[in-house]
Symmetry: C2
C-alpha cells in the first residue's frame, strides 16, 4: 500500500478517491483551527481560582509593600522565587515582567539595537549587518522578531538532539553572528529535548562576537503531557561555568500553565546582565502588573504544586496528541508519504511530507476549512527549502472536531502527494 | 516680615531659629515621602471591586471570544470603547496595552529608533542627532526616556497656558527636532491646563521634520480634584484638521484611576499610524493582558461612572492639596521667598524658590527625613538653570504625616533661603 509501490493507474484511482473526499470535505463548510499552540477551554478551566486572588487590601501586601501601588520594577519576591524554582536559577537572577515572554524577548533584542547589550561595543543598529542563528524548523515568531529588526537569518539544521552543533560552531566564528534562538525543551515544532551533550556544547561555545546573545526560550519547561516532569540543565550556571555567564537570556511564562492572555512572563540572566538591564528598563516602566504576579505566586505556590497542575493539563492534552498520532500511524504510515515526531511535551506534532508537498497540503486543508500554520512558517523567512514541514497544533479543538480536522488533513496530504506523483 | 525688608541681624536671628528647628526635625528620625505622584491607600480602596471581576468562564467572554486565551493584540472592544469615550477619540484609534503608559511611550520612541515612524525616511538610530522639545518644568520620566536614547533635549519655557509656542515654532524649523513631550492637562509638575489657543497652535505646527512626533501624555485626562470634569480638546481630530493627522500619539492609563501597579494603559493615534504600529507590534506580542482590560471595562463601565469614581478620589485629594497650599499661603507667602501654582487637578504642587535655593532645600529636607523629587529633576538633564523648581507630591502620606512633611519642607526652604541671603 506504500505509494512508491503502486502503479500509475493505482495512483490515479487513489487520486480520484482523494479528490472526491476533498470535495465532500469542502461541502461540509468546516471551520477548524489547528494553527497555533493554544490551550483548549478545558485547560483554561483549571486555573479559575486565579481570578479571585487577591481580594482584600491585606491580601495585596507582600513584605510590607502594597502591590496595588507603583514600584518594584523587577517583580515581586514570591513570583521570582516561584520561577527560580521552576527554572532552577537563583531568584535574584529572575526579572518578572508582563503577560508575554515574547514581549520580553522582543525587548531584549530591541535593547541590543537601541542601547547595545552589556558586552557590546555599540548598539546593533550601528552595525552594517547582524546575523542570527535559527535552528530550523523552529518557532515562527522568533524568526519574525529577527526579521522585523532586519537581521540576516542563518538556518541551522535541527537534529534529534537539538541544533546541529557542528554547524553552530562553524557559524559563530563569524563576528557578525550575534546570537541564536533556542527552544531547548520540547522544541517548537518538533518537540525535541536538547540532549545534555548539545546543551553543554552550547554553554561552552566560543563565539567571535563577545556580545553573542543566546536566546533560551524555555517555553515548555514544565510542559510534559506524557510522563512525569523531566529535569533539565540550568543554562545560566552551565554558561557561567564555561566563562559565558553573560551569554544566555532565558525566558519562560505561565501562558500555557494558567491563561495565555493573562499570565506572567519572566527572563533570567547573569547578575551583571540583570544590573545592566534594570538600569535600562528603569527608563521604560515603573513596574509591571504586580497584582497579577501575586495571583500567580499564590495560585501556583511552588514547583510541586505547579507540576500537579501540569499533570492535569497533561490528562487533557495526551488524548489529543494520541488521537493525531494514532490516525497518522494507522492511515499515513502505511503509505510511506510522510514522517513525524512523537513528542512527550510541548504543543506540536511536526510532520514532514515528501519534498514539495507541504504548501499544497496546507492549501487543500484551507480550502476544506481547516486552518494550519502556514507551510514554511517554521523556517527563516518562511522558506522551507524542500517545502515539506507542517506543524500540527492539536490542543485547541475539542476531540470530536480534532478528529474531523485530522481526517481532512490526512486526505489533503494524500491528495497533495498524489498530485505531485502524478505531475498534476 | 518679607525677607527682603529685613536687616542682616534680623535675618541672622531667623537663621538661628530655622537651624534649631532643622536640628529638632532631624532628631525626630522621620521617614516621609513626598517624592512621587503615588495615590494613597484610601484611594486604592476605592477600586477593590475590580479584583473580583471576572470570576467565571462566562464572565471571561466578550463578543464570543474567550479573553483568557491568546489573541486580540490591540485590546478588547469594551476597553477601547471606554478609553475612546474618556479621550474623545474613535474606538478604532485606540490601542489597549499593558499596565503602564510609560512603557507604551517608551515603545513608540524605541520603534522610531529601530524601525522609524510611519513618515520617517529611516530609523532614528541612523541619524546623527535627534533633538526633542522638552517643555520645562516637566515630567522627569519623559526626559529620562529621551536621554536614555541619546537625544539632545531642548528646553522650552512653560507659560501659564502651556509651552511657549513662539519658542516651539522657532525650534521646529530645525529638521533635527523630531518631537515634543506634552502633558496637556494638569501638566506635571505645574498643573497647567494648556489653553485652547496653545493646543490649536500645537495642532497647526509646521515642523521641518515630516515624522515629527507629538508625545501627548494625557495622564490626567479625568483627574480633577477641585471642581467638576473640565472638557479638553481632542488632539487627534485637531491635528487631522490641520493636516497633521500622523503627528500625535496620545497616551492615558488607569494608574491613578484604579491601581498604579495593576492598571491598563492605552495609546491613540491616526488610523494610518495605528495600521503601521499594529504591523510592528505584531512581532512583539500576541496580546496584552485582556482579562485585566476586561476588569477595567466592567468596573469603570463608561465615562460617567469613571467621573463619579474620580470625584471620590477628589474628595480624598483635595484636603491634601489644601493642607499644602494653606501652609504655604500662611507661612511662606508673607516671607516673599517662593511662588507656587494652585492646581485644580493632577498630582503636584510646583514651587519656585529664590534662585539657587532648590537643591539646598531638597538636601535639608532629606537630612530631616523628608524625601522630595530631586531638585532639577523637572528639567532636561536634571539641570534647572536657576536651581529653583521643586515638585511637591502630597498624595501619598496620610494627612497627619503630610502636615509634618510640609512643616519640615517649609523650614528647609526658609533655612536654605537664609543661608543664601547670608552668604553661608
Amino acid at each position: 500500500m506504500q505509494f512508491s509501490a503502486l502503479s500509475p493507474q493505482e495512483l490515479r484511482q487513489l487520486y480520484e478517491q482523494a479528490k472526491k473526499t476533498h470535495e465532500a470535505d469542502k461541502a461540509l463548510g468546516l471551520k477548524l483551527d489547528m494553527s497555533r499552540g493554544k490551550p483548549g477551554s478545558e485547560q483554561l478551566s483549571l486555573s479559575m481560582e486565579l481570578l479571585t486572588i487577591p481580594q482584600t487590601a491585606a491580601d495585596c501586601r507582600e513584605n510590607g509593600v502594597d502591590l496595588r501601588n507603583y514600584g518594584g520594577m523587577d517583580g515581586i519576591a514570591s513570583c521570582k522565587t516561584l520561577f527560580a524554582e521552576l527554572l532552577g536559577v537563583p531568584a535574584d537572577q529572575v526579572f518578572v515582567g508582563g503577560n508575554a515572554s515574547l514581549s520580553l524577548m522582543y525587548d531584549t533584542i530591541a535593547k541590543a539595537y537601541t542601547h547595545g547589550l552589556l558586552n557590546s561595543d555599540k548598539p546593533w543598529s550601528k552595525l552594517d549587518e547582524v546575523r542570527f542563528l535559527c535552528p530550523a524548523p523552529g518557532y515562527d515568531r522568533h524568526f519574525g522578531i529577527s526579521e522585523s529588526f532586519g537581521m540576516t537569518l542563518i538556518p541551522i539544521p535541527m537534529t534529534a538532539e537539538g541544533p546541529d552543533m557542528d554547524a553552530v560552531e562553524t557559524a559563530i566564528k563569524d563576528p557578525a553572528v550575534k546570537g541564536m534562538w533556542c527552544v531547548p525543551k520540547y522544541s517548537n515544532p518538533e518537540g525535541v529535548v536538547y540532549s545534555e551533550a548539545v546543551v553543554n556544547r552550547i554553554a561552552a561555545m566560543r563565539p567571535a562576537a563577545k556580545d553573542f546573545l543566546l536566546m533560551w526560550d524555555n517555553a515548555y519547561c514544565v510542559h510534559e503531557f506524557d510522563g512525569p516532569f523531566v529535569p533539565f540543565p540550568d543554562i545560566l550556571s552551565l554558561c557561567e561555568r564555561h566563562g559565558n555567564a553573560d551569554m544566555p537570556f532565558e525566558y519562560a511564562s505561565t501562558s500555557k500553565i494558567t491563561f495565555p492572555g493573562a499570565g506572567v512572563a519572566v527572563f533570567a540572566c547573569s547578575k551583571a546582565n540583570m544590573a545592566y538591564m534594570k538600569k535600562l528598563i528603569n527608563f521604560q516602566t515603573i513596574s509591571y502588573d504586580k497584582i497579577n504576579q501575586l495571583r500567580h505566586a499564590r495560585f501556583l505556590k511552588n514547583k510541586e504544586n505547579t507540576l500537579t497542575l501540569m499533570q492535569k493539563h497533561a490528562a487533557i492534552l495526551k488524548p489529543r496528541f494520541e488521537a493525531v498520532l494514532q490516525a497518522l500511524d494507522e492511515r499515513v504510515a502505511p503509505l510511506g508519504i510522510a514522517s513525524w515526531n512523537r513528542p512527550r511535551g510541548g504543543y506540536f506534532v511536526s510532520l514532514d511530507t515528501m519534498p514539495f508537498c507541504a504548501r499544497r497540503t496546507w492549501e487543500l486543508c484551507r480550502d476544506a476549512g481547516v486552518v494550519m500554520t502556514g507551510a514554511g512558517a517554521t523556517f527563516p523567512y518562511g522558506k522551507d527549502p524542500e517545502d515539506k514541514n507542517l506543524r500540527i497544533a492539536p490542543t485547541l479543538p475539542p476531540v470530536n472536531e480534532l478528529n474531523q480536522a485530522v481526517a481532512v488533513f490526512i486526505n489533503s496530504l494524500k491528495l497533495a502527494t498524489l498530485e505531485k506523483l502524478l505531475g498534476k
